[in-house]
């Protein structure tokens, strides 16, 4: 597993699942919060990636 995006997605899915179960009660609220946290992980990674693009590695 060397795809950065795949690793990011797997990490986001696992972490958001745990956070949703810990921080919300009820199946519907957990699913909503889990999807929200997952999207936050992925979108923020993309935004940070684009912001870091001008900087030399």
């Amino acid at each position: 597993m060397t795809s950065h995006f795949l690793i990011l997605t797997v990490f986001a899915a696992l972490a958001s699942g745990a956070f949703a179960m810990l921080m919300r009660e009820g199946r519907a609220a957990q699913v909503r919060f889990g999807v929200f946290v997952f999207l936050c992980f992925v979108v923020s990674a993309f935004v940070l990636g684009w912001l870091m693009l001008p900087f030399p590695s």
Partner: protein
Amino acid sequence: MQERESISTTRVSAPTMAICVAAWLIPGLGHFMLRRQWRGLLFMVIVATMFVLGIHMDGELFRLDGSRPLTFLAGLAEMGVGLLYFLARLLQFGAGDVKAVTYEYGYTFCIVAGLLNMLIVLDAYDIATGRKE
């Protein structure tokens, strides 16, 4: 203030302590003991998957080295996984390969798995003491 004092002086009962220790040793077991089987099963799958993936990606299981504070903290966080950490060490997994592309991802997965399990232990504690339903 009065509430805070009453919380700080509350003694943890033996069953609650047993639930916390079980929850630490085997992720999700505390919730199983509290009859939250579905939640316990998901916690078990999430933490174990994250830890195993971390090892698979050449992540390192850090030792508690007092001379290197960050390594010490990373090792402490990884120990949060419980028996899986000690089992992996016993079977000589988690040596870590710094040349591997996924080395940093690997140990991050292992550290986060341990930290998540610590949160899960706290959740089991809250349920056992009636702070959370």
